[in-house]
């Protein structure tokens, strides 16, 4: 229920020479839900702990609304957090664990009961209310921890992997309910997660971190269609983007295999990448169309590339096909059953706007889609 702004926030732990969080800047709007995504050890929890006030900020500023909170005590920041390790208080019943924070303010008893009931119904915790935390399963404890954060009236909510222990069905159900709850109450929220589906389903914007650096902060569509660099391109999407090195030739990109020999060619405008010799190119598996040889004429200006099927798996609602093109390997995903058997010849049609170009050295995006 407030904005949360990080400006050039860094964290160096005592005794460490590395920056666990490196110059991270994020402006989170009032009532916005953002997901913090990144591999293990990239600094997600460290970032949350600085916002909560458990770790000092090495440099940079954190604001809630217009107030700089760097030097405020955790108790003065009015943020709620669901801890990665749950951090429930063992001697108290689940009900009291959830109500704990409300007891301090002058919330009336009836109001506390009502709110505890609402949040525990939302998280399917009703039958657990009278139990003690050590007698709950991991997933149940995790939901109690989440309930304890959501029940509060805080300026910002920090949820550190709040649903990692839940089975897929329950997770999907709760995800939808939590999203509704957060939107309804305009809760400014940062959710840490390892799960892209969850990040995309829950959040308005996603922040991708790697090695302490914020790689990209944008809408799920931005990340999918316009990845800012090679890391985001390879991190987002399941299966990940096909990535290759290519040499710029006159009017075409020559894609190289691992040994550096040309594997296939993608036509482009002459002079489109003038001044560059090498590039990295990325192709989303979902954007590749598979066709039988000979049907290719319908491709128009799209790249048409012949290949051989090396593997083909039907996963119930879509197919993963592994295609060999010269010395390169490409994964294509089709949302229908692909008939082509292993060893058969196919033609790949790759739309021009599905080809992402990155700088070979810096990894930064150069273009998303080739010009027609």
């Amino acid at each position: 229920m407030s904005t949360l702004t990080l400006t050039d926030v860094s964290k160096v732990y005592p005794g460490s020479s590395e920056r666990s969080v490196d110059d991270v800047s994020m402006a989170i709007k009032d009532g916005e839900i953002i997901a913090l995504l990144g591999s293990s050890g990239c600094g997600k929890t460290s970032t949350l702990r600085m916002v909560a006030g458990f770790e000092s900020v090495t440099s940079g500023t954190i604001r809630i609304g217009d107030t700089v909170i760097n030097r405020l005590k955790p108790s003065e920041r009015n943020v709620a957090m669901a801890f990665e390790g749950y951090a429930l208080y063992p001697p108290l019943k689940v009900r009291d664990n959830i109500a704990f924070s409300l007891l301090r303010g002058r919330t009336a008893k009836a109001e506390i009961d009502r709110r505890v009931k609402a949040v525990s119904d939302m998280l399917e915790l009703g039958p657990m209310l009278e139990k003690f935390p050590p007698n709950l399963s991991g997933g149940q404890q995790q939901r109690v921890s989440l309930a304890r954060a959501l029940v509060r009236d805080a300026s910002a909510y920090l949820l550190d992997e709040p649903m990692s222990q839940l089975e897929p069905q329950l997770r999907a159900l709760l995800r939808a309910r939590i999203k509704d709850h957060m939107t309804l109450h305009r809760m400014t929220t940062v959710i840490v997660t390892h799960d892209q589906t969850e990040a995309i389903a829950l959040s308005d914007r996603v922040a991708v971190m790697d090695k302490g650096l914020l790689q990209q902060f944008g809408t799920p569509e931005d990340l999918r269609e316009r990845p800012a660099n090679l890391f985001v391109a390879s991190f987002i999407g399941e299966p990940p983007m096909n990535l290759y090195t290519a040499e710029v030739g006159g009017g075409e990109l020559v894609v190289l295999d691992e040994r550096g020999t040309p594997a296939f060619r993608i036509p482009c405008q002459p002079g489109e990448f003038a001044g560059r010799r090498r590039l990295s190119i990325g192709i989303r598996p979902h954007r590749v169309h598979l066709g039988a040889p000979g049907n290719g004429a319908a491709g128009g200006s799209d790249a048409l590339i012949p290949g051989e099927v090396l593997s083909n798996h039907w996963l119930g609602d879509h197919s993963h096909a592994g295609i060999g093109i010269g010395g390169c390997f490409l994964i294509a995903v089709a949302d229908r059953h692909v008939e082509a058997g292993v060893g058969s010849q196919v033609v790949l049609r790759i739309p021009r706007d599905a080809i992402h170009i990155f700088d070979d050295e810096t990894g930064l995006a150069v273009a998303h889609g080739l010009s027609a």
């Binding site: 955790p74 108790s75 920041r77 749950y86 951090a87 301090r104 050590p134 509060r152």
Partner: protein, 283 residues
């Protein structure tokens, strides 16, 4: 079949171990109801006419031996033991629990060295420190005072409290405290409302252990006090009289001196067991 055999074997072994440890205790209890004549009879016999003479002598303070009446002040020694042990443990808990918390939670310069120095008090033979201390105590007028003794008793009890309780604080996840602070509470409230209750089994165990150690201490009061402040351990020496050793009274004195620690152990047993299963709280 073999599992039944194992069970029988286990029971036999347990009874043997139990007898080994409990028999001396049982014998002392029996002795406390015997006269010296019964005790010194050879071969020893479990059949005798029980007498309360030993206990009565202790409580009244009049010891009649073959060479006349001796005044003993055993009940006063018992009171001294209680005063010294209780005060030492209370002081150690007041000083040691916050210190243990600091050592567990905060890494500060020299912290480990300080903790180790405290522990190392337990390594040195006490006599090494006591003789020079005697000089100081006489100059500072601490000789023969409860205050002075409680002070040196800290050498025994403080390291115990510090090291045991520190372990318990380390086992309590810091996040539980942080969650409470995030709810709008200061660190002091968090310490009393969250940290102390969670470490309570450890604090109880440490308190009990240091009470037993303090209670059993002999040498400090022997050197640094007179019979005015000396505990039962030293007081029992009075039964070695000019006319012989009063085994009956020594046994009765032992039984009386064991009762407080026994009661305390039964009373805090729940905490001791809880303390052993603290692992269930983690995570």
């Amino acid at each position: 079949m073999s599992s039944q055999l194992l069970r029988a074997l286990r029971i036999v072994l347990m009874v043997m171990v139990g007898l080994f440890f409990l028999f001396p205790l049982l014998w002392v209890v029996l002795m406390s109801f015997m006269t010296n004549v019964d005790i010194l009879r050879s071969p020893p016999s479990p059949f005798f006419v029980p007498t309360l003479r030993n206990y009565l002598a202790l409580i009244s303070g009049h010891l009649s031996t073959s060479s006349g009446n001796v005044q003993i002040d055993y009940m006063h020694n018992l009171l001294n033991s209680v005063i010294l042990s209780v005060c030492s443990v209370v002081v150690s808990l007041i000083l040691g629990v916050p210190a243990a918390y600091a050592f567990a939670r905060y890494k500060f310069r020299g912290g480990e060295d300080m903790a180790f120095t405290l522990l190392s008090f337990r390594f040195a033979p006490p006599l090494l420190v006591l003789l020079p201390l005697l000089g100081y105590f006489q100059t500072l007028h601490l000789y023969d005072t409860y205050f002075g003794l409680v002070w040196v008793y800290q050498l025994i009890t403080l390291p115990l409290v510090l090291w045991i309780v520190r372990g318990y604080f380390e086992d309590v996840s810091e996040d539980i405290e942080l969650a409470y602070r995030l709810d709008g509470h200061g660190w002091l409230a968090t310490f009393f409302k969250i940290s102390i209750p969670l470490a309570r089994p450890g604090i109880a165990a440490a308190g009990l252990l240091s009470f037993i150690f303090a209670w059993n201490n002999f040498i400090f009061a022997l050197i640094l006090g007179s019979s005015d402040v000396q505990p039962v351990t030293v007081g029992a020496l009075a039964f070695i009289t000019a006319s012989g050793i009063e085994y009956g009274q020594i046994a009765a004195a032992l039984v009386l001196s064991v009762i407080p620690t026994l009661v305390l152990a039964i009373f805090t047993q729940r905490y001791l067991v809880e303390g052993l299963s603290l692992g269930a709280i983690k995570g």
